[in-house]
Symmetry: C2
Amino acid sequence: MTAEPGVTAPPRSKYLQIKDALLEAYIDGKPAGSALPPERVLAADFGVTRVTVRRAIDELESDGLVYRVQGGGTYSVGPSIAKSLRLTSFSEDVRARGRTPSSRLLEVAHGAAGDEVGRSLHLSPGDGVVTVRRLRMADGEPMCLEVCALAAATVPGLEDLDLTGSLYELLERHYGIAPTRAEQLIEATVLDEHDAAMLGVPPFSAALRATRTSYDSRGGPVEYAVTTYRADRYSLRFAVRRD
Amino acid sequence: MTAEPGVTAPPRSKYLQIKDALLEAYIDGKPAGSALPPERVLAADFGVTRVTVRRAIDELESDGLVYRVQGGGTYSVGPSIAKSLRLTSFSEDVRARGRTPSSRLLEVAHGAAGDEVGRSLHLSPGDGVVTVRRLRMADGEPMCLEVCALAAATVPGLEDLDLTGSLYELLERHYGIAPTRAEQLIEATVLDEHDAAMLGVPPFSAALRATRTSYDSRGGPVEYAVTTYRADRYSLRFAVRRD
DNA sequence: GAGTGGTCTAGACCACACT
DNA sequence: GTGTGGTCTAGACCACTCC
């Protein structure tokens, strides 16, 4: 059972392959409002059942890339808009925008979890946590300040590793920990003089603050992170639907 | 054509009924991490196929209320967290929080669309738009400033209607227009003296700004709205997953 | 009426977790 | 091995839109 030459990727599910094919054929570079072929036609073309085609289109719809009209058809929203809400690390995020991520490590500290962090990580307030403070940059330009807390017991020796890259990659490689889902809170705030100076903006500038608790596939909390983004460099864009 | 006594709601799809039943039985009031029964058991209990049960659980998962572990099971995230990202009007939003919405109408103006609004509403810059400025409140307390633009041709006589309630309800009732999806941009900003006074907070306070373009079921743009929320009263909370 | 998306059935096999 | 969720098939009927 060998793969076709040029097909080096691991065998992905059909509906994901179809999603990519639809993206390339009917969405990327097509004007907004272009119609996709009917589901039954696509099913025949791809040699799958309609259920599988629908699954692919379900993903495109929840990503905000197409919309459906019952009895009407399926239409492209247009090529440029609508980034979906996926759990991504800062490094992945910056690379996806075609820029180069880097970090300046500000502090690695051991201490007690305390109340809020302990509750989020399912620890007692006195349990040990490692706190990593970093200034994160894209093409060398400051983008956000990140404070990340992890249960000390789960990441022994973290402070001796290179913390200027992707924390998610590092957790996976050294500890076999991989966050798969997270709860996220987005607020607006104003930067104090210290944080503003770090980010290279005037004091009292606006900022977006994201507070995130990440969980691994077994449901255990992995990371509690507070990230403060420059308002002039960061925004959230997504599609919403009505029930 | 009368409904059954006691069955006042229109017949909803099975998977939505199952979703509600699962919510009540296994999520509301249950501690985080509680396991749901296996999909095959639920299918038998509800007298449907596994596909239909999975569809219900798909919705719960994308709402951030449960998470699944392949080979393991399906678990509740807990009762309190994770509001989903649905397209809701301010009035609906406030009522969902158990408070009473109200509005103060600041201005209704006719004018040319201009560049940005025109592009969003698929109009020429010189086409007419109606702009509605409102201060929106919950239990009488200022929550946000809303500026909403609609194509003048689609809402004749809008300025003579009662604009202190839900704009979505009004669009539906008087013009048969119902937004079904939207693209939304979230940014952080700082309030100027005028807006801060309107919202009853000190000048230069932080605020969340949401810029939204809504579309009806046929894909036509309906509304271009910029809403500025008090940062101390409004935040966004949602669940994210990794691919 | 013809065509489209929306829902649902009754199975099957695979990948992964637990023990 | 057994049980779980993940994917997929080959149909069916309904609700809606457009002509």
